[in-house]
């Protein structure tokens, strides 16, 4: 039987936070897309998946390529995919030429996800791939803190190097995004369009270009989180689906279109899952229901406070 003591709780907490940062990065892309296009992309998981594979194959083909470069390149790949898709399939939305835009967007992005997943499966097959660890930790021992190449051990709490890396990358990218959005012309443009298209157009911002950019950046973030995680998880074409579902939960929890919301939501979901899985008495059920914990929170949020923690009143 599991005896619940502080170190165990701390460990669950640490695990939750670590994975939470990674969730948050993905959700951030989704929420960015929503804030500008008012669209939930149901292909988000597939961009994440493709980002991972892109990074993997880049590192395979160009040995000695720096991981961070690979991540950036992977990001630009998914950016391209996203931008092109937006241009072809979501443009009528931005131009407000579609009846019931919400539903159209759901279905068409859904179709994209379906298409991309099976395309990857058909092209590269089902065998799991995984990139080598990006950065080895320097081995050292400092009282309770121990580090090997793979793991950083804080007392009884082991933290995986690959995840630490991914989490750090996630935090950095999120900070960059926040800077972009709050301190550059691009960010101003995006925010303007997300608040009021017409007004933005009047002050000389091209809403169409902004939509393309926003969608591209959203998919880019998904791709980059995939690229950041490909050393942490065995990568297969179906890898995206669960991750995507997580980010839906997160953006609803944090409030659709709210970037701080996405970050906080990610952390909350990460922790809730860890605690739920860690603390539910029956070990079998505890783990089998893992994805359900997020779902339940999600359902409750939708019912009790549809605009989430930070969402603005629609």
């Amino acid at each position: 039987m599991v005896e619940i003591n502080l170190s165990f709780l701390l460990r669950l907490l640490a695990d939750g936070l670590l994975i939470g940062f990674i969730y948050a990065l993905m959700a951030m892309g989704l929420t960015l897309i929503f804030s500008v296009l008012r669209v939930v992309s149901f292909a988000h998981g597939e961009h994440y998946m493709i980002g991972g594979f892109a990074a993997y194959y880049l590192l395979e083909t160009f040995t000695g390529l720096h991981p961070l470069v690979a991540i950036l390149l992977a990001g630009s790949v998914t950016f391209a995919i996203g931008a092109v898709f937006e241009r072809i399939f979501l443009r009528p939305l931005a131009e407000e030429k579609v009846e019931r835009p919400g539903e159209y967007a759901i279905l068409v992005t859904f179709g994209l996800g379906f298409f991309l997943q099976y395309l990857t499966l058909a092209l590269i097959g089902p065998h799991p791939k995984k990139a080598a660890r990006y950065f080895d930790l320097p081995a050292f021992e400092l009282g309770p803190i121990k580090a090997t190449a793979a793991t950083l051990k804080l007392g009884t709490i082991p933290l995986s190097a690959t995840r630490l890396t991914a989490a750090v990358i996630a935090v950095v990218l999120m900070l960059i995004m926040l800077y972009l959005i709050h301190h550059t012309w691009l960010g101003r443009g995006l925010r303007a369009v997300s608040q009021d298209k017409q007004a933005a157009a009047v002050v000389g911002i091209n809403p169409l270009r902004m939509s393309t950019l926003a969608f591209g950046m959203g998919t880019m973030l998904a791709g980059m989180s995939g690229a950041a995680l490909v050393p942490a998880f065995a990568w297969v074409p179906a890898v995206g689906a669960p991750a995507a579902v997580k980010s839906y939960v997160i953006i609803v929890l944090g409030g659709m279109g709210s970037i701080p919301g996405a970050m906080l939501g990610g952390l909350i979901i990460g922790v809730v899952e860890a605690l739920g899985t860690g603390l539910l008495p029956d070990p079998n059920r505890a783990f089998a229901y893992r994805d359900a914990y997020g779902m339940l929170i999600f359902a409750l949020v939708l019912l009790l406070r549809p605009r989430g923690l930070f969402g603005r009143q629609e």
Partner: protein, 467 residues
């Protein structure tokens, strides 16, 4: 939240509780009994309608006459059609299906190079079963009644095999199952059903024996909640108990990525497991093993890592589980030492084509077709009974060794043997191999069980040592 919504939620909860309660004390509630009365009337009508349609069918003869369309006389055909199935798309295990398809194609190549069957080329029709039982029914139906195959081989998922077997039984078409472990499959004792894969019981037995030989006292079994993981974990737990070894099962959703919470749980148990047994397939197993290694759960001095059998793909394994050195893994099939010409021929071809180490189910798939072809040859006819007789008398060397089916129609399963021994190859070799050098290939790995095949004279190369 609206009052309506609250009410709805409450209503729902109450209803579910009622349902649960009724389910518990399997008594029939009033409402059901009433409906029964009504529906019984309707049912009478329905059955009559069915009778009528049957009558109509008899008149117009729409019912397929015995459905099975394969001719019995080999001279009527210019090639021998054999059906095969396996999962090629989700929710099935695509890896498994793909590998089996590859191996079966190699088998076809080899058979035809050797002059085919009854002097005619063999042609294989492979269908995707998606790991869905209902697809199993449909696909078997299609193979038998449309494509007119004389026999069926392969399949990976037990849940699918269980439905296919009924169809094959209905149309009397022989099947040699390659990688379906569920006891019930040969346990059905159908004339048509043969199996060369080990049954879950056999594998569980082997696992338990090895773990006993390791002298373990407490075992943690990590399993996926699938048609493979659940029965396997329970069978193993039971057998461990018989040997006085405690064990705890942790079930996880199939395809799980992040295992950290469950690993935390295992490490928070009041005793450290001597062995962690991984009954998780595909990429999920790699995720678990690597994350367990990073968390210092296994492999360690205290805890033996028994990885899933997919670890035999050394390249893939080291890529996905870089810190998995000293992990033991099960191999169903031959020790390199016992490899025969057939094995070498197949392995050579397989590696050269796909540059992977052939998994157990690769060899099984390959052999399943060889066995079917051999039986048809000996039967000298395509008549199902003749083929089934021939199969029962099988005695041939395949990639996994000598095949034979001790119990069947002529020689029924004795009471002291489990009924799944019917048409079951009794000695698929279940071995345990261990990596002891990072990046080493599966054939360099040490054989640690059973004792007679040990390459390093030990049940376990201790963590961190080199033999």
């Amino acid at each position: 939240m609206h009052r309506k919504q609250l009410l709805a939620l409450v209503a729902m909860a109450v209803f579910l509780m009622l349902l649960a309660a009724c389910a518990q004390q399997a008594g029939t509630p009033q409402v059901v009994r009433e409906t029964v009365v009504v529906t019984q009337e309707i049912e009478k009508v329905v059955t009559q309608v069915v009778e009528v349609t049957k009558e109509v069918e008899r008149v117009v003869e729409v019912t397929p006459v015995a459905g099975r369309c394969a001719p019995t006389d080999p001279d009527e055909v210019d090639k021998i059609l054999i059906g095969a199935t396996g999962p090629l798309s989700a929710p099935g295990s695509v890896v498994g299906g793909l590998v089996m398809q590859w191996s079966l194609n190699i088998a076809v190549k080899h058979i035809n190079e050797a002059g085919g069957v009854l002097g005619k080329p063999v042609d294989l029709i492979f269908y995707d079963t998606e790991g869905l039982p209902e697809r199993g029914t449909a696909v078997a139906e299609r193979l038998i009644t449309q494509d007119c195959v004389v026999g069926i081989v392969g399949e990976y998922h037990s849940a699918v095999g269980l439905t296919m077997m009924e169809v094959a039984h209905k149309y009397r078409v022989p099947v040699v199952f390659a990688e379906t472990w569920n006891d019930k499959i040969t346990g059905s004792q159908y004339d048509e059903i043969f199996r060369i894969a080990p049954t879950s019981s056999m594998v569980a037995e082997a696992d338990a024996n090895y773990i006993q030989d390791l002298g373990a006292e407490f075992v943690v079994i990590v399993a996926e909640n699938s048609d493979y993981g659940v029965p396997a974990s329970e069978a193993t737990k039971e057998r461990l108990a018989q040997r006085g070894i405690d064990s705890e099962i942790f079930l996880a959703e199939i395809g799980t990525q992040d295992w950290s919470p469950i690993i935390a749980r295992i490490q928070a148990l009041d005793r450290t497991p001597d062995v962690v047994l991984t009954l998780v397939t595909g990429e999920a197993s790699y995720n678990f093993e690597q994350q367990a290694a990073e968390a210092g759960l296994m492999p360690t001095e205290e805890t033996v890592c028994i990885a899933n059998q997919v670890a035999i793909n050394s390249e893939e394994f080291w890529q996905n589980v870089p810190d998995g050195n000293y992990c033991v893994f099960r191999k169903v099939g031959l020790v390199p030492a016992l490899a025969n010409d057939v094995t070498r021929k197949f392995e050579a071809e397989y590696r050269q084509q796909f540059n992977r180490f052939p998994e157990s189910y690769a060899l099984e798939a390959y052999d399943s077709l060889l066995i079917m072809a051999d039986a048809i040859n000996r039967a000298g006819s395509l008549d199902p009974d003749a083929i089934i007789d021939a199969l029962e008398e099988t005695d041939m060397i395949g990639a996994q060794g000598r095949y034979y089916f001790p119990y069947g129609r002529k020689n029924p399963v004795p009471p002291d043997e489990p009924e799944w021994m019917w048409h079951q190859w009794p000695d698929p070799a279940v071995l345990f191999l261990q990596y002891f050098e990072k990046g080493q290939s599966a054939d360099e790995a040490a054989v640690v069980w059973p004792e007679k095949y040990q390459t390093h004279g030990t049940f376990l190369i201790p963590y961190g040592t080199t033999p």
